[in-house]
């Protein structure tokens, strides 16, 4: 029975990390109908940044968040401004193909650039948090994962608050619902899009810092997380921040229990199967009210 709870906790905590990665994609997709295929590779970039920063300066992983987060924010802002806005703003349809191709191209560029610069060997750091766990009633709670979960929770809560209460946040929601009307009402769509993407990138930066004590990074890390993230966003419903959290936790739990009961390969197949099911039955996410 204790093992059951252990699996539960692991799934939850890992889910929190996944959610942190997925929030950005959810925002991007929700506000701009911009599906960023390069999400996983951007996470890889953030992780490299965090790990090299810690390797070079020896700072605590949580401190690295304060550096990598803002850096990613700025990068996201300008990527949207120069690369993606021209495609989104001018397109006649809601979901231009050009965006898909551009972000797929970005993914290609990032993973190959990483291979060229850092070689395919994986990099990791040993931090004060690495390998530590808290022992409660014969269950082991991984310390770095717990911290990551708490921060991720806080982040999603904070962003949700921002979207509900803050002026900019509400503007983002308005523009996601109806682009033209929002523009008519005087909102600067271009700026809003840059903001949305920047927030998403910043979340990736935070995730990178949170993950640095736990995982090793290599150019193929992007692929590992990339598809998981897409699954989570579909599960949780695009644009829904609590949805991203829910989706992340579901995927985390399925992987944890599936891996424990059967094997991790089966778990992956189950995740994909769930993904396919949700796509067909409830494409707007589990929390939505419509029937796909």
């Amino acid at each position: 029975m204790a093992i059951f709870f252990q699996a539960l906790i692991d799934g939850l905590l890992t889910g929190g990390i996944y959610a942190c990665v997925a929030v950005g994609l959810s925002l991007s997709f929700g506000v701009m109908r911009l599906f960023n295929w390069a999400q996983g590779d951007l996470l890889m970039m953030a992780l490299y940044m965090a790990i090299f920063l810690i390797q070079g300066t020896g700072i605590h992983p949580l401190v690295s968040i304060l550096v990598v987060g803002p850096v990613m924010f700025v990068i996201g802002f300008f990527v949207q401004k120069f690369l993606l806005n021209p495609l989104v703003i001018r397109a006649k349809e809601r979901e231009p193909l050009s965006v898909l191709l551009t972000t797929a191209g970005m993914s290609f560029v990032l993973s190959n650039l990483a291979t060229f610069l850092f070689t395919s060997n994986s990099q990791s750091v040993t931090t004060p948090l690495t390998g530590r766990s808290i022992n409660i009633a014969s269950m082991f709670i991984s310390t770095p994962k717990l911290i990551a979960f708490v921060v991720a929770l806080g982040l999603t809560f904070g962003i949700q608050l921002f979207l509900q209460k803050a002026e900019w946040g509400r503007a983002l929601r308005a523009t996601s619902q109806d682009r033209e009307v929002a523009q008519l009402m005087g909102m600067n769509n271009k700026l809003l899009y840059c903001l949305a993407q920047a927030i998403g990138f910043a979340c990736l930066g935070v995730a990178g810092g949170l993950m640095s004590p736990i995982y090793a990074v290599s150019p193929s890390t992007g692929a590992t997380f990339g598809f998981k993230t897409l699954t989570i966003v579909v599960l949780g419903g695009k644009g829904s921040v609590p949805g991203a959290l829910l989706g992340g936790i579901i995927v985390g739990l399925v992987e944890s229990f599936g891996g424990f009961l059967f094997s991790s390969l089966y778990a992956q197949i189950i995740v994909f199967a769930i993904f396919a099911l949700v796509l067909f039955l409830k494409p707007n996410g589990l929390l939505s009210k419509d029937r796909g």
Binding site: I3, Q6, A7, D10, T14, T115, T119, S120, N121, S122, S124, T126, T130, G131, R132, S133, N135, F140, S142, I214, Y215, A216, S218, S220, T221, A223, T224, F225, E255, S256, F257, G258, G259, F260, S263, S264, L265, A267, Q268
Partner: protein
């Protein structure tokens, strides 16, 4: 503006097409020379390894050994004596771990450069493809490093393997089991956590096949996907079953690091007998830190094995040179290449010509033992290519069967060989059982 950029792009594309005319212009119109070069002052050897991509570390390591030996042969030994001092010229290619790229490089080496021998390959997929093409084109080849059995499952006269394949390695792991049975009681059940993609799976299958013979009651197979972000559920499985006595993980380096770290996190002090590349690479100990202590690892080579060389000074010289280049110790990949390439030299000396058929014939007749360059930095003390049954009745051809796979224990950041005795480290006293995480 848009049109300008489009025009520039178009021009650039056209220019690059024109530039491509360059190498085509140099094409040699010579018809295939199936016999390789005739005598002359150099003998060309095609060396193909993954020099980029995920297995690049091992590939570059092996290449270093090949280049060092070539240098030694050409300068210290005065070239190939039986060919009037002909020098070896290496034609090096990068397979990137991909069959198709490897094949293209093969064509370049065999048909453009007219090499007399092919060497290396490393990755199983590349070895599979190239072994068949070497047979088809009648080019003698020595494949190095541990690979799957398939490439050697067909009788042929051209492709040879001096290092272990699964069929031979399992014979040794069966012997190892004897030793383990004396030390680790009761030896009824263990878990095999394997990377379902590569070598690990075959090992698992063979372990299953030999299960009864070795006296196990159950082997729990836990497949993982390479590059996983998390092993908690697998480790939970291990923790949940008190009958599991030890775990044998077979995975790549980043997975291995994560695995031992999480074993420590979850306070699972099961003995870890690491199988496979991940637990061997120098970076593993460094990055895993104290989570790697008391981990057992198996490999065809450990640095402390230089102590068993018949000329320890020579061995030390090579190891120092390697360390100077890479910053870590002479590793398994270099050792495999070392053994294999000296076999090539051995065959060349006996063949006395650059003719591929003669070399293939000489290779088949290889019989190395005692004080030979090949055995200096290898666990294999003899080399003979045989057609024989390996473990689980798998028939392999042109395979060397003296390919021991010793166990070593990681203590204080270094590998200490514990079995077999002939290769064991002098300095380390093996103790059992290993202490729990708290006690370390």
């Amino acid at each position: 503006m848009k049109k300008l950029i489009a025009t520039i792009l178009a021009i650039v594309m056209c220019l690059s097409l024109v530039a491509c005319g360059g190498p085509s212009g140099e094409q040699s119109q010579e018809p295939n020379q199936s016999s390789g070069q005739e005598g002359g002052e150099t003998i060309k050897i095609g060396v193909l390894y993954p020099l980029s991509g995920s297995t690049a570390t091992a590939g570059n390591s092996a290449l270093w050994a090949v280049e060092w030996i070539t240098d030694y042969i050409n300068n210290e030994l005065g070239g190939i004596q039986s060919m009037d001092g002909a020098k070896i010229e290496l034609v090096v290619g990068d397979s990137k771990g991909d069959s198709q790229v490897g094949l293209t490089e093969f064509e370049r080496m065999v048909n453009v450069e007219n090499v007399s021998v092919m060497f290396g390959f490393y990755n199983t997929a590349v070895t599979n493809t190239l072994s068949q093409y070497c047979i088809a084109n009648q080019v003698p080849a020595i494949a190095t490093n541990a690979v799957g059995d398939e490439a050697f499952s067909q009788p042929n006269d051209y492709v040879f393997h001096a290092n272990g394949c699964n069929a031979t390695n399992t014979l040794f792991s069966n012997q190892r089991t004897e030793w383990m049975r004396e030390v680790i009681q009761p030896m009824k059940k263990f878990a095999y956590v394997y990377d379902s993609a590569d070598y690990g799976r075959e090992s698992y299958e063979t372990a299953l096949a030999n299960m009864e013979e070795n006296g196990y009651e159950e082997i729990v197979g836990i497949p993982i996907e390479a590059g996983s972000a998390d092993f908690s559920s697998q480790i939970l499985q291990l923790k949940n079953d008190p009958e599991i006595e030890w775990v044998q993980p077979s995975m790549n380096m980043s997975d291995a690091i994560l695995f031992v770290r999480q074993m420590k996190e979850y306070d699972v002090a099961l003995p870890i007998f690491g199988n496979g590349g991940g637990f061997l690479q120098a970076d593993f100990i460094e990055q895993a830190g104290d989570a790697a202590d008391y981990v057992f690892s198996t490999s065809m080579w450990f640095p402390s094995m230089w102590e068993t060389a018949w000329d320890t000074d020579f061995a030390q010289t090579v190891m120092d040179a390697y360390y100077e280049e890479f910053g870590y110790d002479f590793d398994e990949s270099a050792s495999c290449a070392w053994l294999g390439f000296w076999c090539v030299w051995d065959a060349l000396e006996r063949a006395g010509s650059a003719d591929r058929e003669a070399i293939a014939q000489a290779m088949a007749e290889t019989d190395i033992s005692g004080e030979h360059y090949a055995t200096l930095l290898s666990g294999s003390k003899t080399v003979k290519f045989e057609d024989r049954e390996g473990a689980a009745g798998v028939m392999v051809y042109n395979q060397n069967f003296d390919t021991p796979v010793p166990w070593a224990c990681i203590r204080d950041g270094e590998y200490r060989v514990v079995w077999p005795e002939e290769l064991a480290s002098q300095e380390y006293e093996f103790t059992w059982p290993i202490p729990s995480w708290d006690e370390r």
